[in-house]
Amino acid sequence: MQRALFPALFAAGVTFLLTCLVIGVKLEQVGSELTVTGADPATWGWIATAVVIVFLVQLFQSPLGTLRRRLPAIEAHGLLPGHRLREQLRPWLIALVIVGLCVWPFMVSRGAVDLATLTLIYVMLGLGLNIVVGFAGLLDLGYVAFYAVGAYTYALLSEYFGLSFWVCLPLAGLLAATFGCILGFPVLRLRGDYLAIVTLGFGEIIRILLNNWTNVTGGPNGIGGIDKPTLFGLEFSRRASDGGETFHQYFGIEYVSSHKVIFLYLVAVLLVLLTLYVINRVQRMPIGRAWEALREDEIACRSLGLNPTVIKLSAFTMGAAFAGFAGCFFAARQGFISPESFTFIESAIILAIVVLGGMGSQLGIIMAAIAMTILPELAREFQEYRMLMFGGVMVLMMLWRPQGLLPMKRPHLELKNP
């Protein structure tokens, strides 16, 4: 203790001098002369606190050191819980996040909820494309085509046959998956760059088809007045349509327009959770292992009796199905769709989400999707520079973290008690 006293006093003195010079006194120009003015008492109080803290820390350095040396054992178990504890905490953490996601919209503005809904659509698209790009290692530049297929499936079925959102949702997924399968079958023999070019072409074909098939899709004018999803038949509008009933009438509450926004948000949350569940399961299923094996060594896979085409096709189809779901929801949320929503830049943004997030990593993709949708909204003043910023971020990311925000760590299957 005695030995620590002098260094402690010295350190406190240095702290005092430095803080005084930096924030304690100020040089101000009065007329042509410089005068020294002191800071306000509150600042002096903070300086004193800092000096005391430095003094005490220096004085008790060795006892603190031994304490810290004793801590790591606790730290390893407490702060970074062991594998088993983490496994135990996991469901609780997930439940907490889900509850948070469901409660949150009731406390914030309508605009924020709307933005969150849009973000969730991108999360779903990112997760879907991740199956194709991240898991199976197939570069798909025309992913937006399946998104468009999903959106138009709902829009057209709703317009011509009056089918509801909940009926169309599986149909949209199924149809998008069928398109994925039809496209994938001939092109999945191609490798890397060639596949990217063919999918790019496919994306454009779908968009141009939608643009020019005027008597069915309405061409560039798009399709408007698409029904919003209902809650077991209850509508979220001010007045019920013929034979319908509205949510506020049924529950006998005042009509609030934000109910609709919150409901859409909750549907999006539900879809994202479903996507996450399916992807998590699939990763651990034989097919998930086969995707990874195929990415690593296609020849070895063939020698073991795995059919590469079928395995790639399953990834392509599954990815397309999620784009179909997202598209269906997108059409329902917007109420209006036109080919303009499905340009190549959308594909690029979704791919950017996957790459930025770290290919294969789901948490990374969620974070990247949030960043990619919220940042442009926050920086609305820089609207014209949006693409510039977008490009800049991409370049920086590739230099700084080419593996993405959170690179994938696939859950390894472990052999218990070998």
């Binding site: 299923m285 034989p286 292992r289 020698s303």
Partner: protein
């Protein structure tokens, strides 16, 4: 019908103007270790690639268990029970050892998506069976302790053994090993030697082997085919091969 498990007759493989395999024939009987030897560049691996479906042969017939297989794709031939390894180790190196063995059992597993999503009992049972088969093979090749390690982190000899285990979990009828002893030290080679014999005796499979290690080849082979410059040179038991003057001239060098 002949009693041969694999019958290759008049196999030709032409790459442009180069005749890499010229009229090679060989017969592998059940429960036999059959070696293919020859100087470097003799076309041994090309023969392998033709048999296992990685090349489509330009001519000739390949019959496995009485069924013509020439021209089939690699994965279909492998599903018939004809599984091979490669000259270079081709493991899924970022996957764990046990996962390597599970991938190999892909076609035996329940790949129905809905069964997997809902974890149905039949799905669990299949996974459990696959795990048990994998465990039992890991024990046989002595890699049980490494089960949860990444395959890429194993030593070279262990990777070679894992490769054989990975072939074996597919329950093949004929195992084709392409230079399995390349790069192994003498002790590992003798372990491999024992392993191959055990596969023949305990698992009742036939082994088709390409190898340069003459000690290994002469010690365990039941039958040897010698290929030189794409053409068959000799065929017989190890004793016959060792006594054949043509072989000594072409392969072992003139003394």
């Amino acid at each position: 019908m002949s009693d041969n498990l694999l019958e290759v007759s008049g196999l030709m493989m032409r790459f442009g103007g180069l005749l890499a395999v010229d009229n090679v024939s060989l017969q592998v009987k059940p429960r036999q270790i059959h070696s293919v030897i020859g100087p470097n560049g003799a076309g041994k691996t090309t023969v392998f690639n033709c048999i296992s479906g990685f090349y489509s042969p330009s001519g000739g017939a390949i019959r496995y268990a009485g069924k013509a297989i020439q021209g089939l794709t690699g994965h279909r031939i492998s599903r018939l029970g004809l599984v091979r390894t490669f000259q270079h180790v081709r493991l899924f190196s970022s996957m764990t050892v046990i996962e390597n063995l599970l991938v190999a059992q892909h076609r035996h597993l329940n790949t129905n998506y809905f069964a997997g999503l809902l974890k149905t009992p039949s799905y669990r049972r299949r996974e459990q069976e696959a795990m048990e088969r994998a465990t039992s093979w890991l024990r046989q090749v002595g890699l049980l302790e490494q089960a949860n390690r990444e395959a890429g982190n194993l030593s070279y000899g262990q990777q070679r053994r894992l490769e054989i285990a990975r072939c074996m979990v597919t329950e093949p009828g004929l195992l084709m090993l392409d230079e399995p002893a390349a790069g192994l030290n003498p002790r590992e080679t003798s372990e491999l030697d024992q392993l191959i014999l055990r596969l023949r005796d305990e698992q009742d499979i036939a082994v088709l082997l390409i190898e340069h290690d003459m000690g290994l080849v002469m010690g365990i082979s039941d039958h040897i085919t010698v290929i030189n410059q794409g053409a068959p040179l000799a065929d017989g038991t190890p004793e016959q091969i060792l006594a054949n003057p043509d072989v000594i001239k072409a392969y072992l060098g003139e003394s």
